[in-house]
């Protein structure tokens, strides 16, 4: 498993565009990992609550106390960006793991057994995929209410069907191979066959497809919190900070002096998605030349 991965990174590094993407992404990973050192937790019990300087409605310009300035109600933008990076990684990783797990189980059962159960599971995924994912995620998170874990559940709910489909098609490919038939012949149980043969053979392609997916998860998660359906108020969440800036912008009091409250968080999200897309483009060329 390790060799193809290091080869892959070497291949990616050779491409100039992808190299910049990897460099930017590394900065974000570092921000997420070292968040407690870069911006000291404001509240010990929950570091994701943004540092609030006071309750004044007028945003502040960048200063020594708040390097990126503050939004209305004095939320510290620098703090929100740093911890927001950590939060978005947390959400993305959880969504991918949950979707992979559900996709593995349902796609696996569907592909391995076929027949009626396959039909039922696949029609279910078809139906979920026939509603635009953001819209369905809005619906689920409205029902679940605000909260980080609930955002994860809402996005996972719309995300797993794609994984189930991929797993299913991978398994259909592997199932008909001889070594699986021999394993069945010598009386191997289904769990053993899955663990020993099917998952190791299918997981690589699925992981690649999962990595192509990260940018979309980031966009949908930050869109949800921008719409006020994600994290509870006061959380270090990129989308939420942007929506605070929007309220200030729309109030009619804004001017060029306060443009930083819009520009800084926008650049932060943009660069992250941009770096992911730079890497994804090359990945797609390597693994699926037809789409290039």
């Amino acid at each position: 498993m390790n060799r193809p991965l290091s080869e892959l990174i070497k291949k990616l590094w050779k491409n100039k565009k992808t190299k910049y993407g990897l460099i930017i992404l590394t900065v974000y990973i570092a921000l997420a990992l070292f968040a407690p050192l870069i911006a000291k937790p404001y509240r010990q019990d929950n570091p994701y609550i943004v540092k609030q300087h006071s309750f004044s409605p007028i945003p502040q310009k960048p200063s020594l106390k708040a390097p990126f300035g503050t939004t209305q109600n004095q939320y510290d933008i620098f703090y929100a960006m740093v911890w927001g990076t950590r939060l978005i990684f947390k959400i993305t990783i959880k969504v991918i793991l949950i979707s992979l797990l559900i996709g593995l189980v349902l796609g696996g059962v569907s592909g391995y057994y076929g027949g009626l159960i396959d039909e039922v599971i696949m029609r279910f995924t078809d139906i979920i995929l026939s509603v635009p994912s953001l819209i369905l995620a809005i619906f689920v998170s409205a029902v679940l209410g605000p909260g980080i874990e609930k955002v994860v559940i809402a996005i996972s709910f719309v995300w797993w069907p794609a994984y189930a489909r991929i797993f299913r098609s991978e398994i259909l490919k592997i199932k008909s191979m001889d070594f699986i038939k021999y394993s069945q012949m010598i009386g191997a149980g289904i769990f053993w066959i899955f663990r020993k043969h099917i998952i190791p053979n299918a997981i690589y392609n699925v992981m690649i497809l999962a990595s192509l997916d990260i940018a979309n998860i980031v966009i949908i998660a930050s869109s949800l919190s921008f719409l006020g359906l994600g994290s509870p108020p006061g959380y270090a969440d990129w989308g939420q900070i942007i929506s605070l800036s929007r309220n200030w912008l729309i109030s009619g009091l804004s001017s060029i002096e306060y443009s930083h409250i819009v520009l800084i968080p926008s650049v932060f999200i943009f660069l992250f998605v941009f770096s992911l897309n730079l890497i994804t483009e090359t990945l797609r060329d390597i693994f699926d030349p037809r789409l290039g």
């Binding site: 139906i127 819209i135 619906f139 409205a142 719409l227």
Partner: protein
């Protein structure tokens, strides 16, 4: 009609109600995760506060703790009759709210799709004709730049530039002057499509006013959605240009313009339709977010408001109407395939 095509279309059309029932079933099951007290609010038709006894009465009357399949059946029948319940956020029936907000969304969507097809096509062709030249580089870089921008960031940056800094264009659907004219009955809203209404009212100033308000949100959706379309236009044009028939046409001495008009534009239609269909999800999500950013009084901002306050009937109505739009959009894509590609076998 080609052989088997009728069958193909009938199957596609029959598929829509089945999917619709599947979607509503899933939505109904999810919404029933809520406690009966919250669900009971969906069965009221006014916005006065309910006492606990009244809520219990509703729960009992509609059997909200009872068998979910039975309740789903009743709800589906009601929905098919057009009764989607009462909307707390807009203080009217959900179906009336949809009638009120849908024209604004359709207006915005049309004004975003047309530029994607016309300008996107033009940009893609220009890039292909100047492959690796300056205009190709500018078009490709800019479009991949916007592709990486979540639609709410494009919207908010446009708002910052054109409203915050220059103050030339404003959010919302029309200016206060128009709003006063409507409320005083000086401007009649026949269709709720502002552009059509202003023509019917013979009122050019409202027409220009509405057009000005359309620019920012539709530009925002255009920038967020057109990238893939431009890219597929460019790449499939380049692919066509390498084919033998183009070489033959050139050898015959035909002009480049003629080759593009007569042959290439037709041959790239199929990949364009495919990508157009795939981009529909991005478009609809973009519309919902853009409406929220620009206070555009459409289905999207209505749905988001309903979702924030957990107005059960409205949020159900919102997802149902968006799903219908999406299903219809997919049907249109299928029809376009049939129309433009007679080679496809419909088995």
């Amino acid at each position: 009609m080609y052989k088997g095509m009728k069958k193909f279309l009938i199957r596609k059309i029959l598929f829509i109600p089945l999917t619709f029932i599947g979607i509503t079933m899933i939505l109904f099951f999810i919404i029933n995760l809520l406690p009966p007290q919250t669900l009971a609010l969906a069965y009221t038709d006014s916005d006065k506060e309910l006492t606990k006894e009244e809520l219990d009465l509703i729960i009992e009357k509609y059997d909200l703790k009872g068998n979910i399949l039975k309740r789903y059946g009743k709800w589906l029948l009601k929905t098919l009759k057009g009764d989607l319940g009462y909307s707390q956020v807009s203080k009217m029936k959900v179906i009336d709210a949809i009638k009120k907000y849908l024209p604004a969304t359709i207006e915005l969507t049309i004004f975003s799709i047309i530029p994607i097809f016309i300008i996107g096509n033009l940009l893609g062709l220009t890039a292909a004709r100047n492959k690796d030249g300056l205009s190709d580089k500018i078009i490709s870089t800019t479009s991949s730049f916007f592709y990486s921008m979540p639609s709410f960031i494009i919207g908010i940056l446009l708002l910052l530039i054109f409203y915050g800094i220059f103050g030339v264009l404003k959010p919302q659907r029309y200016s206060i002057t128009t709003e006063i004219m409507i409320s005083q009955g000086l401007f009649k809203t026949y269709t709720n499509f502002m552009l059509i209404d202003s023509i019917l009212n013979l009122n050019p100033s409202v027409f220009i006013d509405s057009l000005k308000h359309l620019i920012l949100p539709s530009l925002s959706i255009f920038l967020g959605t057109s990238a893939s379309f431009i890219k597929i236009t460019r790449n499939s044009t380049l692919e066509e240009l390498n084919k033998d028939y183009v070489r033959t046409l050139r050898a015959k001495g035909l002009s480049e313009n003629y080759i593009f008009q007569k042959h290439i534009r037709k041959n790239i239609l199929i990949p364009q339709i495919t990508v157009g269909g795939l981009q529909m999800i991005r478009l609809l999500s973009g519309v919902v977010i853009t409406e929220t950013i620009f206070d555009w009084p459409g289905i999207g901002s209505f749905g988001v408001r309903a979702a924030r306050q957990l107005d059960v009937s409205s949020v159900m109505g919102f997802v149902i109407i968006v799903s219908i739009l999406f299903l219809l959009g997919n049907l249109i894509i299928d029809l376009l395939y049939v129309y433009f590609d007679p080679r496809i076998k419909y088995e």
